[in-house]
């Protein structure tokens, strides 16, 4: 994770994710609500205004050819309110005023349907007013009779303001409560995460790495995949590190014996003289040789496990590598009284020269060490359509079939300790290197001695 890009805290993210939309919704509801409130306020007030208009219009009659009316006080009573709005009215027959305020804005009679009240806003005496007006058709009166009633808007505005304020307070309470409750709610819902962290942290404090599954108690369904993924990772780490742990433990264990020899022989060399000292020095040289071989093999094993991971396979001539190994180990073989032979034609396999060299070195070295004087170690290159191979066969005491399974394990030394001193690493190196080359290594079925075959399966190309 790059350190520069600062990721906001989970709390902040959730606050933004929840409060942002909530605020937007509040604004939308506010806008829609304001429109609705204005509409409702207009409709209810218009209904009252319309009622008053109807009551006045009812009383307009024709008596003896004259238009008369009897203004009902109830019509104006309807319009009384706390805001003391001014009420104006006007009844006209054609252009002639019958009663009321002559200068109230008059409509164009042609645009009015008969007996259908119409409402409109207008200005009168520097005030905004709402006018309800209706045109009546009276028998034997050919001029249009227009009845108008108007009120100022204070009541409407006050009602509108009160409703808007209530809406606004409701919204503020909603958003505020959400903002306030979000933090404790987050803390509460993140508590299982804290428990999970606690379970991981306990592992941190234990001296010995613990790779068993985490115990964080019951977890919510969102966290369970995380815990499971963590458990899987732990299991994989366990597999990966157990090999290393066992290896280092065994390696240090393996070094203690030659180190003990060294310490004792150094003490003897210091105390003794002449023959005794010479003997002690020989033992010291042997012990140093053993340690050196052990270290070399440990390094070879580490190399075999690292090599080949990235480098592509190259074409390697098995015979050429085998000849190089034999050349190097010839002196060792002569000293041990072992005959080394190489048979077979040059044969190219995909691999890494270093690894193949290491494998053959170890196999031939084993063949020489675990043999009897006068024995042979035969290296044979086998070219075969199903895959090329190289076999290393000795005619020594051999390995019982029951021990062959464990022979490739690290630090497994076969026999009762009477044989030559080895580290028990040789075949482990062989197996590890062969695995890097995608080659197989197996015991050959022979009556006498030991045969190990390194087999390169035919590549598809």
């Amino acid at each position: 994770m790059p350190a520069e890009t600062r990721t906001p805290a989970l709390r902040t993210r959730l606050l933004v994710a929840v409060l942002g939309p909530l605020l937007a919704a509040a604004i939308l509801i506010g806008v829609v609500g304001a429109t609705l409130i204005a509409d409702v306020v207009r409709r209810t007030n218009d209904r009252v205004l319309g009622g008053a208009l109807g009551a006045i219009a009812e009383t307009v009659q024709v008596e003896r050819g004259e238009v008369t009316l009897d203004l009902p006080s109830a019509a104006f009573g309807m319009l009384e309110n706390t805001e003391r709005d001014n009420v104006y009215y006007r009844v006209a027959v054609g252009p002639d005023l019958l009663t009321g305020y002559a200068d109230l804005p008059a409509p164009d009679p042609a645009t009015l349907d008969i007996d259908v009240p119409r409402y409109r806003f207008a200005r009168y005496r520097d005030q905004a007013i709402r006018i309800a007006e209706v045109r009546r058709a009276l028998p034997r009166i050919d001029k249009p009779v227009i009845v108008q009633i108007a009120e100022t808007l204070d009541n409407r505005r006050a009602l509108n303001r009160r409703l808007l304020l209530a809406l606004l307070i409701g919204e503020v309470i909603l958003v505020g409560a959400a903002a306030l409750l979000l933090r404790p709610a987050l803390g509460w819902s993140l508590r299982p995460l804290a428990r999970l962290r606690g379970a991981v942290e306990i592992r941190d404090r234990t001296a010995r790495p613990d790779f068993s599954a985490l115990d964080a108690g019951p977890l919510p369904s969102e966290l369970r995949p995380l815990a499971h993924a963590f458990d899987r990772l732990l299991a994989q780490l366990d597999i990966a590190t157990s090999g290393v742990r066992r290896f280092t433990a065994d390696a240090s264990h393996q070094m203690r014996t030659p180190l003990s020899v060294l310490k004792v022989q150094v003490a003897l060399a210091r105390r003794g003289a002449g023959h005794e000292r010479a003997e002690a020095l020989d033992e010291i040289a042997d012990a140093v040789g053993r340690l050196e071989r052990l270290v070399t093999q440990l390094l070879a094993l580490a190399r075999a496990e690292e090599a080949g991971v990235s480098a592509p396979l190259e074409a390697v001539d098995l015979r050429e590598v085998a000849a190089a190994v034999i050349t190097r180990q010839f002196v060792q073989a002569v000293e041990a009284g072992i005959e080394l032979t190489l048979e077979g034609a040059p044969c190219v396999v995909p691999g890494h020269r270093t690894l193949i060299f290491e494998i053959l070195s170890n196999l031939i070295d084993n063949g020489i060490r675990y043999n009897r004087p006068g024995g042979t170690v035969a290296v044979t290159i086998i070219a075969d359509p199903s895959g090329n191979a190289v076999s290393v066969a000795d005619d020594g005491p051999g390995i019982p079939p029951i021990d062959r399974e464990t022979a490739f394990e690290r630090f497994v030394r076969l026999g009762s300790g009477s044989g030559p001193e080895g580290s028990g690493l040789g075949l482990a190196i062989v197996r590890s290197a062969a695995a890097r080359l995608n080659a197989s290594v197996a015991f050959g079925t022979v009556e006498k001695g030991t045969t190990i075959i390194l087999h390169f399966p035919q590549s598809k190309a």
Partner: protein, 221 residues
């Protein structure tokens, strides 16, 4: 002191053997637990040094078997492992001491001497019989301040007799304690060492009596 060394690593066995023999002990070596169990019963070992990591039956099993048979010989375990469990297990199974590899040779020698003294029932490093004083830690012996020049076999015989001063020590037991089983023991080997010792102890030291047909006894006081 007669010691049985059970160690599968040939080089380490040679080294420990040389170290302990130089200190005047007789050391027998076997490489496996099976061999150890077959020889330990027949010989009067003063100490068993047992490596835990043996092929075949391991050191713990050897120790367990020994103790089940009722063998009381002190056992010093050698372990290449660091685990506390191993040490605890070894001691609980009846080991008297343990040493971790790689060990300091001086420490091994000192622990061997200490275990040898306990075996004699006397943990004091200095043994006194009359005018004779033997320092079992350094191997030095003197009579009234006069230092004795003892060969290592003579020292072993003298120590074996001095720990049982005033009692008859059977000849066979003395041979068993002083010589390892792969050392050639002549018919009069013990007699030769005893005669030389008498010469060195005389005239002011305790005398060694021959109990004909039975063994020897160092005069107490």
């Amino acid at each position: 002191m007669r010691i049985l060394l059970i160690e599968d690593d040939a080089a380490l066995a040679r080294s420990i053997g040389a170290l302990l023999r130089a200190g005047g002990n007789a050391v027998d070596h076997v490489a496996t637990g099976e061999d150890a169990l077959s020889v330990v019963a027949g010989e009067p070992y003063a100490l068993v040094i047992l490596d835990v990591g043996l092929p075949g039956i391991d050191g713990f099993t050897v120790l367990e078997t020994l103790r089940r048979r009722g063998e009381r010989v002190p056992v010093l375990m050698l372990t290449a492992r660091d685990a506390l469990d191993d040490r605890v297990r070894g001691l609980d199974l009846g080991a008297d001491d343990y040493l971790r590899k790689p060990f300091e040779p001086e420490e091994l020698e000192a622990r061997v001497r200490a275990l040898g003294r306990r075996r004699g029932g006397d943990p004091l490093p200095v043994l006194s019989v009359g005018t004779l004083t033997i320092n079992r830690s350094t191997g030095d012996a003197d009579i009234a301040g006069r230092a004795l020049d003892l060969r290592r076999r003579e020292r072993a015989v003298l120590e074996a007799l001095a720990t049982r001063a005033g009692r008859v020590v059977p000849r066979e037991l003395l041979i068993g304690e002083v010589f390892g089983f792969d050392e050639p023991v002549g018919g009069n080997a013990i007699e030769v060492h005893v005669t030389r010792l008498r010469g060195k102890l005389a005239p002011d030291g305790p005398g060694i009596r021959t109990v004909r047909g039975v063994g020897y006894m160092l005069d107490a006081g």
